[in-house]
């Protein structure tokens, strides 16, 4: 527990430093800082992995079953996806847009209880492994797509800025990378939904009950399905698709955090929302 907590805290610190480095790099245009930011992310990822591994050993199961565990794993998924996309496409500025998303998720994890609790009977299923682990990578890929789409909008707005044109790929390239991230996330999200349905059938006898979590997974799936259709058939490869990618990620965050905190309390906040309409 001590190793896990210390590793988690170091991870949090390193990711924060990475975000500051990337931010200063972007604002003051000091390119060296982007290298430091990238290094901090990589070291942070190592400590993050140590934290998750030690929790796995201590709990004698994968850390995928409560808000803290999923949030820290989700952040790990974003970091892994970032690491891979940065390695593959080699543009430093991506970190400026992805690290804030990473920080949001890991700070959410930090606010949750870190107590290790045994699994409740409904969660004692092998389907949790497929369901939640694919969700981590799906959400991670969508976070990257969201970061790249923010870059797209900025690149489009500051076409004449030499720093931006030098450090950011072309709009076409950004759109292609965002598309690839969304394609990966979409395949994974489909696996998440299907494995969740199979698991629900095993546990409760109904594979689809339109509960808020299922419904919002469906809504998110629809958003990205529309993105893919309009991009392929209508040739939308511009700001509109970039906005789609951002809205899709907002929907992801709502599916994860909002459904648990707002819609689960049907009698309170959801009613407030309805009364505001």
């Amino acid at each position: 527990m001590l190793i896990e907590n210390q590793s988690f805290n170091i991870t949090l610190l390193l990711y924060c430093i990475a975000m500051v480095c990337y931010f200063v790099f972007f604002m003051l245009r000091k390119e060296k800082l982007a290298d430091y930011g990238s290094l901090m992310i990589k070291i942070g990822l190592v400590f993050h992995t140590i934290s998750l591994t030690s929790r796995t050993v201590e709990a004698a199961r994968l850390p995928l079953s409560n808000q803290y565990e999923f949030a820290t794993s989700f952040a790990w998924g974003i970091a892994i996806c970032y690491f891979e996309f940065e390695r593959r496409y080699k543009f430093k500025v991506l970190g400026t847009f992805v690290t804030p998303l990473l920080l949001i998720v890991i700070f959410y994890a930090a606010m949750q209880s870190r107590d290790i609790r045994p699994l409740m009977p409904a969660l004692q299923s092998n389907w949790i492994l497929i369901h939640v682990s694919t969700a981590i990578f799906s959400y991670g890929a969508f976070a990257i797509a969201c970061g790249i789409s923010m870059m797209y909008l900025l690149r489009d707005k500051f076409k004449q800025d030499t720093f931006i044109t030098k450090n950011m790929p072309s709009l076409q390239m950004l759109d292609t990378i965002s598309y690839r991230a969304i394609a990966l996330g979409f395949v994974m999200l489909t696996v998440v939904i299907v494995s969740g349905a199979i698991w629900a059938d095993k546990a409760w006898g109904r594979y689809w009950q339109w509960d808020p979590k299922e419904t919002w997974s469906f809504i998110t799936w629809v958003i990205y399905a529309i993105y893919l259709h309009v991009r392929i058939s209508k040739g939308w490869k511009d700001k509109k698709t970039a906005w789609f990618a951002i809205i899709g990620f907002v929907s992801i965050l709502f599916t994860y955090v909002g459904v648990n905190t707002i819609l689960s309390g049907y009698h309170s906040y959801a009613m407030l929302l309805w009364n505001m309409l």
């Binding site: 409904a122 299923s125 979409f186 919002w216 309805w274 009364n275």
Partner: protein
């Protein structure tokens, strides 16, 4: 074009499909905000009159079973059928047909001096890009060589749409034919499953607790009997491990406490029964009712309320409420076996035991939905990761015009330039 043709054209367009998908997604947002499937008074008490009337008249309280949601899903199914699934022949033609020069990306042209070993050269050109089977055709006096790879990728979108259609139809069929019931009882009891010929014999029920007092698992040892009391199946079921019999599934769903109740008047036993937590025993003749409100295995009363310290029956207590002619006349806690006295009535709650609650479901169309989901996943992999690649070489005069679709142009140019050098050296 007649109106019917215009409508059909509209219905099978992708634009219409996207519109329907967006509409279904939008309606689902309302479905997630407004509580679904509650009793009508719930909406009247929860919302203002205008809003509750709006919710009930638009069926927003059961949106997923509303005529418009079902109608939109049906339209989406028709759209999927017409828009892509019936286009299978187009895909097959695309796979089998000769590539069209206009649609392929021009890459390079190679000028050759003599045609000795030209076919070998062309085959080698294809081979170096991983194309094994090269087809030669004569088209308008030109020789065309072409080859295709990963053509299965063309089926990606088709598989996805077929899968979604199959899933929607199977889900709709499952909803339409759905059977749901429940049985509950204490160990040793036999309970008929309403609406079926089955009887469930509850042989045993136990809960595994961990050292920290949390529940590890719930187990019900059950036998399934038919109306002739013949054994059909038996199993120890637990959460995530139901019993399946001919499409009927028996799920470990919940649990609670039950107690024996002795109801006496003037010290003579009137009735003895089993009472479940939260339920009433009502003597209609006498106008007396008792509610078994809650059971505390390890009772403790604090200023904050009544609690149980653990699941162990160290200090068992029943919380009960007494009603006479519909009016509550008493409420208290009582230990098992102690007598609750009220006028000439004596009531004893005794022998607390846990009961098991099983959900019984039969959902048809699961296989179709599973197959549909599988098709969607296969389709996604095909669509995103198996990219069809075409390469074509057109021999016209003393030139080879190279075209490709899906080939990395930069790589191919480098490769072809290299090939040209080799070819020129060779000759």
């Amino acid at each position: 074009m007649s109106i019917i043709h215009k409508v059909i054209k509209q219905v099978k367009s992708m634009k219409f499909g996207i519109f329907l998908l967006a509409l279904l997604g939008g309606l689902s947002v309302f479905g997630s905000i407004i509580p679904q499937g509650r009793e009508i008074p719930f909406y009247h008490s929860r919302f203002s009159e205008m809003k509750s009337n709006l919710i009930l008249s638009l069926k927003l309280n059961d949106i997923y079973h509303s005529w418009y949601f079902i109608g939109l899903s049906s339209l989406l199914s028709i759209n999927l059928l017409l828009c892509s699934i019936l286009r299978l022949d187009t895909i097959i033609r695309k796979i089998k047909g000769v590539p069209s020069i206009g649609k392929e990306t021009y890459i390079e042209n190679i000028t050759f001096r003599q045609s000795d070993n030209l076919e070998n050269y062309i085959n080698n050109l294809f081979d170096n890009f991983g194309f094994k089977k090269v087809i030669k055709k004569d088209k308008n006096g030109d020789e065309i060589y072409y080859s295709k790879k990963n053509s299965i990728g063309y089926f990606g979108s088709w598989c996805i749409h077929l899968g979604i259609l199959l899933t929607i139809i199977s889900y709709g069929y499952g909803q339409y034919t759905h059977f749901s019931s429940e049985v509950y009882g204490v160990p040793g009891s036999e309970v008929e499953v309403e609406g079926t010929e089955f009887t469930v014999s509850i042989e045993d029920f136990r809960i595994d607790y961990r050292e920290d007092g949390t529940v590890g698992q719930y187990y019900t040892n059950m036998k399934l009997l038919n109306d002739k009391n013949e054994l059909l199946n038996s199993k120890e079921i637990s959460v995530n491990h139901p019993l399946n019999y001919k499409g009927y599934n028996f799920y470990q769903s919940a649990t609670g406490w039950a107690t024996n109740i002795q109801f006496m008047k003037d010290e003579k036993e009137v009735v003895e029964d089993l009472l479940y937590e939260g339920t009433f025993f009502v003597d209609e003749e006498e106008g007396l009712a008792i509610q078994f409100t809650k059971f505390f295995p390890d009772f403790v009363a604090t200023e904050g309320g009544l609690f149980t310290r653990s699941h162990e029956t160290n200090n068992p207590m029943f919380l009960y409420a007494l009603f006479f002619n519909g009016r509550r006349v008493g409420m208290n806690v009582v230990a098992p076996g102690d007598v609750i006295e009220w006028n000439e009535y004596d009531i004893i709650l005794d022998n607390p035991k846990m009961y098991t609650y099983l959900q019984v479901n039969k959902v048809k169309g699961k296989l179709g939905a599973a197959l549909g989901s599988l098709l969607v996943m296969i389709g996604l992999v095909l669509a995103f990761y198996i990219k069809p690649v075409t390469m074509m070489v057109k021999k016209t005069g003393n030139k080879l015009l190279v075209y490709g679709n899906g080939l990395e142009v930069v790589q191919s140019k480098t490769f072809i330039n290299k090939q040209i050098d080799v070819y020129n050296e060779y000759h």
